[in-house]
Chain length 336, copies 4
């Protein structure tokens, strides 16, 4: 069976998804593209697929699924329309920056009974996945500590940061997902602190660029996350799970796997800088998992609930930073 | 300018080239495909390009270049026809297993004045390239030693080995290319030894499956190569250049960049097993270099002469193994 | 000039110091040993030096310096006697678990004008030192983040833990020292959390065995520390300083520098388990620094103030853990 | 039981042995020292042991064993005298540069029935030992290839090289021992080549400074060795055994286990430069093995025959280099 997918939103990430679906995901067919800007026309022409003139038209293309890659503030509206149209849904993260809005979206999906997978692609990175699998099969024993270093090569434009919801809901949200994914345990308490050390303009729009978060899990495990908006040596992403029987960890890729050795020492190249390059395999495997699940009627590998929990944690982190104290998830969401 | 390329031969490697040209090489267009078997039809349909019914038809498609991916024994005939048709030529390695035949092909290319690039893709692997670049910019000083480990994950079928020309002309030929590429110095003398340690059936068809070769370069540097047809832990390819000012080296990629740590120690996954996976980046960059050179009228990054030298070395290695003594390249090719 | 040193306290660590001074520290002479137990006799006989019957006798041995290796609760009394006797002083960490007592000791030292070096040996580990030096010479730029993993191979006896002052003053105190040493910036605020995940008996005596601490430095940098009393794969000690221009980090030593590779992957041995083995070089270089400073009249590389600050941080961490909130150093010590 | 050992020859290596025996080898006692120069007096005084005025006097000191650390050309004479005196013998490598002389020494030892251990210390390096043990327990399967990189940080004085017996009997002899030790299989054929690339003065005294050797083992395995007298980045010693079931390898130690990361890449320090520093653990463990074997009456871990085989290989390598062809060990020693 071929899963026909319409890509909604053809910005940088949407275009990448469309290309993967058209060329590299076996069992997938790019059934159409749509964007509120002109960008869809070029993508459709290059990838040889229909271009819809409106969301309505996009949802009337004969297809099995949609990929929601529009701007974050429109995710839930599009999700509700897609659910109504009975499409299986892939939605980029974060679902929404507002919890009640997010819940509206999930309710619509549940009511319609459609499939939903959230775009936490790092779960499909072979290295991070190996950590989660080692924990799941017991190689690490009970997890006691989880440590995540997550640093971007360079800050995004200030205009982006202004509407991003802040570092915790924009960038750290991936790490909150990793903490849940790798340990298999929910978060109870969040302590966050941070500062403006990279660029004062980030502080001017009310955000921090350097942050540390401590999470206490339901099972007693503790996670530390350290973030920076600027690692001059490349995109640095490491996850480590430590427990009663050992440790599992994931690392980075260098520009090449080589070293030059002189009297001064052994030097290997900096890390890959671009997130699409770093996470190519994860994006491809994310789609493969989507197509396999939708095609076979299997369960979603990243559910709506997996999309909701990191937002609650992110909102708790934001509150913790502001109030200078640990904040429980229950303070943000009594149902947590 | 777009470089239009017809792929001749759509076996495993030809299909991969066609796919890269159709989808990932910027500035390239897949202008058509041809194969003596049925395989071309499926490839052409999937990649949406014309399928030629004969070599003549393939060479009459309006195009700038051809990729010769047919069986080795037909390379030179196809090359001569393509030169006649005034196409820029990409030719898979080895050009031929017979030196006079190879020379006929190169003569035809020279006479026609067409561009020729040989498919020694490892030169475009970012890690091996970093070694060559470190040598070229003087970081290693004068090269004294070059050491190459080159081991396949598993032997090819015996039927393939039978017509392969033997391990030195089939497998080690890549390492001979690396030795010239990395050191920038020609080979004068070859000592080769080997044995049948992996599979007796390989010995039955007159080949060895485990080999060691020592090369003496014109500049006095010494290269060692060690080969095995079977490394159970994956595709193992390492190059090291050592000299008066230091060392440069390239390494492998693991299935993932992760480790699991227990009381027993630190374990990371085996190496990637499949050569297309291991060398994806090199194949793409090889095409990019071809398209850039053909498009701009620049020189070939891997010339006919670069395709010829490793065959001479391979034939010397074969003779050395048989006769149990070092053999000079001049014994094989008085012009060396 | 030879620096003559009397070792006071010949338990495990005192005996090690005596042996280093007698055999391996150039410019040092082991002038005598003393202990309240019988242990001194055997040490003195083996290392061929006088054995004092009392502290008074030990301080009357003709010598330049003493090494205080007695139990923590006696450090300050011995320090005051040694200051009175005009000896240069090496004192094991922590100076005291009680801040006023500690201050009494430092006051006596200052009044007597004697040299004092505190036994924070990790500063002399070549790997951790390389991190501090990279920061000091500006290779990392301004430090934004410091991350410390510090895990023992196995918990000490419960009887030891009972009188240890708790994990923060006993074990993490080394990490507090590292945070100050590596970043070169004082601590303002401490957030600590932890749990009993390794052994319930540790909880029974009121301590935790797994902990995470976040430090905010005066210069805005943030340090995370993660501790465990039990890493089954060995003694795990890593320090990383990240900043505007890059990163510096230190790592561990394995039982041997080897790997075994099979179809299952690449395995290297576990880490060294014993702290004396892990830190041999640091203990030797610590003594060399002491002898050099005392011999030349130079300044102490690890001052009384360097011994005091980590206790303040440790006490703040203990309070933070109890009260579930960040605690400032000023709350513990108004002079901070 | 304590094994009392007299050290004969207190040059650099003899002094190191005396110090280890006096201070760090449990179950050993330094019973005396002797040297034809004045050096013994200072060593004896520092380590608090008798200093013999002659070899005869040294052999009359009440002791169980001797360590022969005199110049190579005197080894066999001293060995014969020590055997006569019924001492267990430790003898530095090489036993002799002359095969008949060496055989005389071994015959005397056999006749006297005394214990003999040859100083191939690298067998006791934990990393190289781990490779041999992995092979011995079958983790690597049948060994097919063994690759040894062995490079000194800097050439010895020309005066030393002149009487060293040449690179193969002086430096590569350790690698020949490693090849036998790690694979567990004898050598049949040797091909050696080399050049003068580091210092023309080395060529002037008839030696090479850069060399490659290929060994064919009895069991069909092939070993490559690459040597340089000068690796500017430190003492580089790596052994790799590759076989039907995998690979085992040993590596080097850096000056510290740290790295500095900038926009330019990841840099770790050069390798340890001094052989005593690099091989400290091996020297200590070598003595522990000697003391344990002599004390318990167990077999020698490195026999006279283990001392003889590498000389035969070294002489074959020298002949191969001169004659430009593979040479069998049987050509050097018909009994091989």
């Amino acid at each position: 069976m071929t899963v026909r997918i319409v890509v909604l939103g053809t910005g940088r990430i949407g275009e990448m998804h469309a290309e993967l679906l058209a060329q590299q995901v076996s069992g997938a067919e790019l059934a159409g593209v749509f964007d509120v800007t002109d960008s869809a026309a070029a993508v459709g022409s290059r990838l040889n697929c229909p271009v819809a003139a409106s969301l309505e038209e996009a949802l009337s293309i004969e297809a099995d699924a949609v990929a929601i890659c529009t701007s974050t503030d429109t995710h839930v509206d599009v999700m509700m329309a897609a659910a109504e149209a009975d499409r299986a849904i892939f939605c980029e993260k974060p679902i929404s920056l507002d919890l009640p809005t997010l819940d509206q979206g999930l309710a619509a999906v549940e009511k319609a009974g459609v499939f939903l997978q959230i775009g936490f692609n790092r779960r499909f990175d072979p290295s991070h996945e190996a950590v989660a699998q080692a924990v799941a099969r017991g190689s690490v024993g009970d997890v006691h500590l989880c440590n995540i270093a997550s640093r971007d090569p360079a800050p995004p434009p200030i205009s982006y940061i202004e509407t991003s919801g802040g570092i915790f809901c924009d960038m750290t949200i991936h790490d909150f997902d990793m903490a849940r994914y790798v340990t298999g345990s929910e978060i109870e308490t969040v302590y966050a602190t941070g500062g403006v050390l990279v660029d004062p303009a980030i502080g001017d729009v009310g955000d921090v660029d350097t942050a540390v978060v401590v999470l206490r899990h339901e099972n007693g495990a503790l996670t530390t996350i350290n973030n920076s908006r600027q690692a001059v040596y490349g995109y640095d992403q490491r996850v480590e799970a430590f427990g009663s029987a050992g440790m599992a960890s994931s690392g980075n890729y260098h520009d090449s796997n080589s070293q030059v050795v002189t009297e001064q020492g052994f030097t290997s190249p900096p890390l890959q800088h671009f997130f699409i390059e770093r996470y190519t395999a994860s994006y491809l495997r994310q789609w493969q998992a989507f197509v396999d699940a939708v095609g076979s009627g299997g369960p979603s590998p990243v559910t709506g609930s997996d999309g909701r929990a990191p937002l609650v944690i992110g909102l708790a982190a934001r509150k913790s930073l502001r109030e200078g104290r640990p904040v429980t998830c229950a303070e943000i969401d009594p149902s947590s």
